[in-house]
Symmetry: C2
Subunit: 507 residues, 2 copies
């Protein structure tokens, strides 16, 4: 039978190997907390360990002992374990049992949902689960059917890019215009990356061909939130100069400090300045913090969202849905699909021609698409709204625990107000010394590899000079209060060593 | 323990549910050939079957009987089965045992490889497996280390977009220029979609702001290959008019008919016209056909590839590596990363600052990235080069089988030369009648749902008017010679009915 189609799936072979892989993963999660969270690998270690030439003969099922042995010996040591309870470096990337099962099922089915017709259930399950998410997070009605709608993007970067392209189409169409986008100085790097890809600007500082500034980074207030007055002045100045403001990206939960831009005031500015009347588009990026709004007590984060044309948050970060799953809603699917739709003859089909169905290829950059709604469906059913809220509340409580530990220790101070489960802190004392000590502490922690934190710089409220700040981004699904206590004990011990020794740890 | 972290993975629960899901998938592949390949669902069927409100309480492990029952009852009927042996509609989307296991493992590990440091093995396994693929397909040295390099993109659409953005950066940098891109009239819709996203053009016909044509669709020869003389004339005309030709996308294996653009002649044009000297970029899109070049007898398809700056093909189409896995190589990583790189403080790390490592986030649109190299590694090890060649040769032989069946049947004729396993055919006779009969045949086939084909239009060699053409795109991993015979018998029987009845099938 296997000769009849050399690449076909033999169901029994798949069953045997699939069970082995599931067992391997179960064992991995049993032990992940004991592995060094930050890989100890050096550059080129794995490259040197792998054969330079590809295998000529296949190993087949019989060879999987060796494949799994290589996985243990070669791959695992090269991993930084995002599912470790001591991973607090970047915003989390939650895996979960239903999330993994959904990804497995998606791979096993191997369907591709570019068109409604190429698997109606892929499109409709996505529509339904995104609508469930919209209900759970209490989104404004404008993002739900029949006017608006939701879709799964790969990442928030892609969500920003498609929003920007839709905005350009709505504001400028075929017209020549000096387009200007706005975001805060604290916004994510993906905003300017999207603008560079879209040809809005060329350089990372937001300038472009012939020196016109086409992404403006609006200053923030003392709490690192976009300053609406500064936005108002920037838009007015650009309109006065004959430029065309077309896109504002506000952030709910910035990467560096979890700051929340004031959406109600931003909405008022956009209405007052003529930005809105000219078709300008407000996109709201809540990539990380958005997950928290499954809890009613955090839904205030989204106050003013009714002013937005699009909104995104990533269930793949903090809502137990395996990467990638970035939920994106827009109140203006017409301009989105007008900007992205191209229909060659070979993609035409009866269902599309008849109307009444949604082809999600026109809502995204790629043509092809995986069946990602399965994992979201499984997560929502397995945990339910209650389970997801408990997950978020658990981490916010851990954030409070860590905040209190920082507050009680004179060697440290908070570097920004705690935002949900993100705590930004620094060594106390004069800036120059504290910055050096902070860097030394991060290096010492990462050299040990048992606890993984990352850093940022935030402006000193006094003179705006950069302060080195440690980010404790709590959100790994497995993290417990004990893990936080242990992490804190180690952080404090290393900091004490560094402080005693000058800026270098003793060992 | 589960109270300590409500979202954590319980290894034993995962093991039990994982085994069930593996068993479900094994059973699915045992029966997929008996299901209607094209879903019988109507618009809204699944939406109406699913609850309007999200579940408040989670079902937990105990609820998975119901989840799996809903999977059978609600989801499966809404699928179009890309893994069915009778799926010949679009280019394939091969799933395989090692491909699914790789996707499962990637989900289970839940790591995110945006930076080398965030999992060194994810970056280095990707570098090694892409280099293996480059060897297997005999790519020019310029695409391999130390000068060039490979990376996994999500889709060929994204590969085209990043190539276009890199090209713009190389040619124009911060300079103002009227950029012009070129591709053939037979090229994939993703080329113009990429140009629209990148702001190169605004409309689907390639025009843009102030009416300048910025994507030019170059005519093809009688074999539907880009005409190098026409490309030469177009570039010369644009240079003469003060415009800046910056990007050419050639296709190896077009979607409609599998045509292969003449890369050696295109390379000569680009050298002669000054396109090359001005920094212009040649991208080669072999999304589907590239997989065939694991066979030495098909490597002639890539003759002239040494003229290209970037090249892409999709192992997720025809090389048994689950979607998504689009292999992309460039000989100029410097301009690619210069165009896409943005490094905020929170992404800085010791390894990146020290150099000597590659951060793949700067090679792609998104920031985050799944560990997709695992599935490619598993596929290469499980099948080996020999197994992959056998897989390709099996389908090319099926293409020959189908071609011969068409040739022997006077009711039909080939509409283009067979390309590998893609056979374009049509009803014979006067165009208007044959077109109507072709549409009726496709509708009749799709109404039955047992065999799934798609269509395109190709220009009539006589007067370039569109001819309706059926595409038999053979490549599902499970398809056998018997499946081809059965498909042909049904196609012929329905065509005979249609021909007897006028243009409508009798039942």
């Amino acid at each position: 039978m296997s000769d009849a189609a050399p690449g076909r799936i033999d169901p029994e072979e798949f069953r045997r190997l699939g069970h082995r892989m599931v067992d391997w993963i179960a064992d991995y999660h049993r032990q992940v907390g004991e592995l060094p969270v930050l890989s100890r690998s050096g550059p080129g270690d794995l490259l040197r360990a792998l054969p330079e030439a590809p295998p000529e003969q296949g190993c087949g099922e019989a060879g999987w002992d060796e494949v799994l042995a290589d996985l243990d010996a070669l791959i695992v040591p090269g991993l930084t374990h995002w599912q470790s309870p001591q991973f607090h470096a970047y915003f989390p990337c939650n895996a979960s049992t239903p999330g993994i099962l959904g990804e497995l099922l998606s791979a096993g089915l191997g369907i591709q949902g570019m068109l409604w017709a190429t698997s109606p259930a892929a499109t409709e399950l996505e529509q339904r689960t995104l609508d469930w998410l919209a209900q759970l997070t209490n989104l404004p009605d404008r993002f739900r059917a029949p006017d608006g709608g939701g879709v799964i993007q790969g990442t928030a970067s892609e969500a920003t890019l498609v929003a920007m392209v839709a905005a350009r189409h709505r504001v400028a169409g075929g017209r020549d215009a000096d387009l200007v986008a706005y975001t805060s100085t604290q916004a994510h790097s993906s905003i300017v990356k999207a603008a560079r890809i879209a040809g809005i600007c060329d350089e990372v500082d937001g300038t472009t061909r012939n020196g016109r500034r086409t992404v403006r980074f609006v200053p923030t207030d003392d709490n690192l939130r976009l300053d609406p007055a500064a936005l108002r002045a920037a838009i007015a100045e650009d309109i006065e100069a004959g430029r065309t403001p077309f896109f504002v990206c506000a952030t709910v939960g910035t990467t560096s400090s979890g700051a929340v831009d004031p959406l109600p005031e931003i909405g008022a500015v956009l209405a007052d300045t003529g930005f809105r009347d000219a078709g300008g588009w407000l996109h709201v990026d809540a990539a990380w913090a958005g997950s928290a709004t499954v809890c009613p007590e955090h839904q205030g984060l989204l106050a003013g969202l009714e002013h937005a044309d699009s909104y995104t948050f990533n269930p793949h970060k903090w809502l137990l849905t395996n990467f990638d799953c970035s939920a994106f809603w827009t109140s203006d699917p017409e301009h989105l699909t007008a900007a992205l739709g191209v229909t060659p003859e070979y993609l035409r089909n009866r269902a599309t021609d008849a109307g009444g169905v949604v082809d999600f290829r026109d809502w995204q950059i790629p043509l092809g698409r995986r069946f990602r709604a399965l994992k979201l469906w499984f997560v929502l059913r397995h945990f339910g709204a209650e389970g997801l809220r408990a997950h978020i509340r658990h981490h916010v409580a851990l954030g409070e625990q860590f905040e209190n530990l920082v507050r009680q220790e004179p060697m440290f101070e908070l570097a920004a107000a705690r935002s949900l489960s993100l705590v930004c802190f620094r060594l106390s004392g004069p800036r120059e010394r504290a910055n050096a000590e902070g860097r030394a502490l991060l290096d010492a922690l990462n050299a040990e590899g048992q606890i993984y934190l990352s850093h940022t710089t935030l402006p000193d409220p006094v003179d705006q000079a950069p302060r080195f700040v440690l980010r404790m981004a709590i959100g790994a699904a497995a993290t417990t209060a004990d893990d936080i206590s242990q992490a804190w004990d180690r952080i404090r011990a290393l900091a004490a060593q560094i402080r005693r020794a000058g800026t270098e740890p003793t060992a």
